[in-house]
Symmetry: C2
Subunit: 357 residues, 2 copies
């Protein structure tokens, strides 16, 4: 640590991404990435002319990309803010609306980045425990005066609240900000986007990293009232005006407009997920059905830690959390059917169950 680092950062606990070992080739199912390529239209967009256009700054208002995203929900681009992945969008939202010392809340088990941000930037945060069935207790968030951050569906549990439950939280107090992270929304549950026309204390964050198969492109977006979006733009223009590259904009715009391809990939993943969850249940595993591109379960006859380690020894990376309430679970990203067949065969081998049909 240098002499100059501000005291408030000295005890921060930076976000820990899923491991990326490179001692051998792994089937990487630990970070909810995609086994399907991006839309072919993304490749079409990367023409020689487009690559060469990096010689100029792009429009820092990103109107073309914001219009393309708006068209998905029949919204004006004025309701859309774009950033370098959902994390940056979340950070700009929190930076704009949550001051050091302000009270926020989120579940004890959720996407760890919220806590990372809260600790680092000095928010007064409270974590409400998930219920025994690992679902969110809506009443916790209705009956608090704290600003709310919720992943819906939640991660790593994969469970979702209904739009009417979210509406209860949002409408309980219009002077309280509610941030809903819908990173996984396209895989099953209903989006809260229609609520933004009625509530000005709601920000919804989505991403191209999951259903659009493009985590490496770093494109996330927020949907909210035009006033909220204007505020976030104001903060962005004082931190990094030109936050997205011309290549991300070109690729992102092409991907946003190709809803057919997104639906196709999402359909395959949902089908594979349901089949894979069925197969895990046949092994006696305790499966928490998700509405995402991953499965979440407690294995039987082997600890979660052992199963994770043995899958890694077999060249398959999955996510294990060495922490209270989570250390009996494994989270596995849904890849292609062939990849998940390989995972199943390997799990059966590890736990000593015959792979014969």
């Amino acid at each position: 640590m240098s002499y100059f680092l501000l005291d408030e950062f000295k005890n921060s606990t930076p976000y820990q991404p899923g491991e990326m070992p490179n001692d051998r080739d792994y089937l990487k199912l630990n970070a909810n990435e995609s086994s399907y390529p991006p839309s072919p239209k993304v490749l079409d967009a990367m023409t020689v002319a487009e690559v060469n256009s990096v010689t100029h700054y792009c429009d820092p208002h990103y109107v073309s990309l914001r219009k393309a995203i708006g068209s998905i929900y029949d919204l004006s681009y004025k309701n859309i803010f774009v950033g370098n992945g959902a994390d940056e969008v979340l950070s700009f939202a929190m930076m704009s609306f949550f001051r050091r010392g302000m009270k926020v809340c989120f579940p004890d088990i959720t996407y760890d980045f919220y806590r990372t941000y809260a600790v680092t930037y000095g928010l007064d945060y409270k974590q409400f425990p998930l219920k025994d069935d690992y679902s969110i207790d809506v009443n916790d968030y209705i009956n608090t005066d704290r600003d709310v951050i919720l992943a819906n569906p939640n991660n790593p549990t994969g469970q979702a609240l209904s739009v009417s439950d979210i509406e209860k939280i949002v409408s309980a107090n219009p002077y309280r900000m509610v941030l809903i992270d819908e990173a996984y929304v396209d895989y099953g549950n209903e989006s809260c986007v229609p609520l933004i026309s009625r509530y000005s204390n709601l920000i919804i964050v989505q991403t191209f990293s999951k259903s659009r198969n493009m985590p490496g492109a770093r494109i996330g977006f927020a949907i909210a009232s035009s006033d909220i979006i204007k505020d976030m733009e104001r903060v962005k223009f004082s931190f990094n005006p030109f936050n997205l590259s011309t290549l991300a904009i070109a690729g992102g715009t092409a991907a946003a407009l190709d809803e057919e391809y997104m639906s196709l990939c999402v359909g395959k993943i949902k089908y594979t997920r349901e089949w894979f969850e069925d197969e895990l249940e046949k092994l006696g595993f305790n499966v928490y059905r998700t509405e995402t591109n991953f499965v979440f379960f407690q294995p039987k006859g082997i600890s979660a830690a052992d199963l994770t380690a043995q899958l890694k020894a077999n060249g398959i990376l999955v996510r294990y959390y060495d922490e209270k309430r989570l250390d009996t679970f494994v989270r596995i990203t849904i890849g292609t059917e062939a990849e998940m067949e390989r995972v199943l065969v390997t799990i059966r081998k590890i736990i000593g169950v015959s792979n014969a049909a």
Copy 2:
């Protein structure tokens, strides 16, 4: 403005980028972009496989890109921090080391983003006036206990301080941070990078947006002691861990390694700049010789505002600053020789000087 925007942001003045009108085709020489394409190796790097690899997150430590940048200066990647353009790198540096209320200083005439950041994030900033010849008075920065931010060469004046002058500032007080923005350094003056092995209160910021012709790719970097870099990484990992796209990394790595191409483009721009400055002097214009990819001058027989407006009417965008001490100047980016010939012919026509040889 929404009910929720934090008070401290309500009076911020977001950075104003150069205008980007699209009512017609313009020769855009107002934002110090590049008329030369990026290295052909950048195009080579954008293979189908590379574009398709957006399906996965990149290594958020960006070791490959940092190593490539380090190799330019024979430094370890541990001395390199990468971000989404120099603005993000500057913001992460200021966020890591400058708290609300802390004292910083920079010139009255310089890259406006420093003031934007200082106002928005509540730094106690002081602007030392440039001398009458628009150069920086080194003593101002030696004799203050404030942290220092300097663009070297300065923008829009284009003048540079020597490494020994910068060393005087840095060495005057080791408990004071000095941030040197070397965005334009490759066009002439000597870099301060060698100083980082001796001073741990120095951060140098550079960019791929100027000499590497890639403003649209959004790649900037900081060079500093490994402790300073570790601190900045810590803050980045709590704000946006995966800040660069896989495409920017691939393109940036290819560009960093192609120093020959960079030298070729820089050589052409310096040659064209010197010739263009000579030609402006022949028109009686008062030229402040720069060490950058732009020229900075006071026209004669026409006001700077009028010249800017008439160039725009002729399809050429240049930069005019409607503010005290700057409103008699025009800044023009150096494009290709043919483009600058067109600018000269147009200027001669506007001021009524014959274009005959």
